[in-house]
Amino acid sequence: MDQMIVLIEQLKRRDYTSFDTFYQLTKNQVFYAIVSVVKDKNLAEDLMQDTYMKFLENISNFKEGSNVFAYLSRIGRNLAIDTYHQRKKIVQGDELFETIATPEVEEDRDDIFKMLDLLKDDEREIVTLHVINDLKFREISEMIDKPLGTVLWIFNKAIKKLKERAGDYL
């Protein structure tokens, strides 16, 4: 975490010499926060750039001691949701991202996406944010604006569901 503090201090001074290191340390969290909403790998990757730009633009607002992974996840998630709403206006479909997602051959898809597809939207997002992005339940509760108990409930339901099916991906 000390390394992260130094990196953020550099970025605050608009010194990008170590940005690559910062990117490598955080890209997974950003990617998964987005992809758990948009369910499309290519679109998620596109939104990653916007997420980092937004982070850098507003880096002066980042408070020392805050969880940068949670902060970036929140920006990525919000952008993903905005994109969802923008595209909804165009597509006007109920199952939006099933409609707009680039069709991929099932066998070519990474196992993690197949596993997460076993879950409902809210389950997938909470599992992603807790297990992959290492966010605490309380941070997730604030981020998705759901009571802590509900977050725990959904998480445990999702884990139960995955326990029964995840063996296929071993």
Partner: protein
Amino acid sequence: MKKKELIQLIKTKSEQVEIRDFSKEIIEKAKHLPKPEVIEKTRFSFRLKPYYLATLGVMLTVIMIVLFTPDTPINPIDPTLENMDQVIAFSTLTSVSLIQTIDTDLQTESDTVTLSHGNPPSPRMIENQITDITKYLDMMEKLFGSNPDFDIVLEDQTNPMYTNRMRFKTKDLLEEEVEYAIDFNQTNIGIHDFVIEGIVVIGEYAYPIYASGSSNDIDTLELEIEQENGNQITIHYEKILEVHDFEIKIYQDDLLIQEVNFTYQEQGEDKQATLDFIYGETVGSYTFQLDVEDQVSLIRITYDIESDESESGEIVIRIRTLLGNTSYVILVMPDGGIPFIINSQRQIRPMHGNHQMIYENLTI
């Protein structure tokens, strides 16, 4: 597959995804970001523009009218407690179960807790939390075992000190019933708000209660219950969709010792509760579920403890009856750790006995 293995599998699979590297493109774009501006603080000057003055004038007029117009009679519409019975029963049951437990804690403070540890391979964080979790078992049993409407009855009041009486019943997992009586006075505040002050009686115990709510929002209630010695429970209850959500604060000797978020939900036959420790020495998040095995009810808990390190696992709680006494047999199975059993005396309702716990290692 165990939970820990599953979580590891998700992490591993997530790392296998190749994510394109955009760092160079981002750096290129970031170079065009404006340099952070240094904003000089300007001296504050008080300049009211005409329209601000107009707005201020209207606001002052309204305030004057409100202050100096004589009170107009308002049709007295009593806030009704109809449909809030269950809310009150829920909140009372929760708070009473807990306040009786604080009492137990105080009485047994000097008692020696018997521990017969083996040599666990690694420290188990759950061990430090178990005592507090068992304090919530009384409440869980009653929520899981009772009829959904708690057999609520509104009765004529015979106690001259109070105007209203409400009775309700709970059942635990051994089908033992406990009856609660709430004697209270209701005071209406304005058109919709109300407060109730009274006592809740359970067997030989009685506790003063104070609650406030609004007939405009029948799914929310603030409730306080206290003991003479300064122990107090405050509850903010809210029903969010079908989830009963409680923010519970426990005060001992007027000091906040624990804050938890507790939820309870029923979906058909499925009953589930979550308990999350927010403030205090005990930590972790726990999901309770009622289960039946060989026609015997038991409680399953999954837990996650997050601090500097994290631990998760499962707990199975069975009730054992021996020579007329009942106790909890608590099987704790930390993910990746050695399972162990804790025997904890089950509280005898409505009185509570000693809170002695005996730990055993379990070889499976």
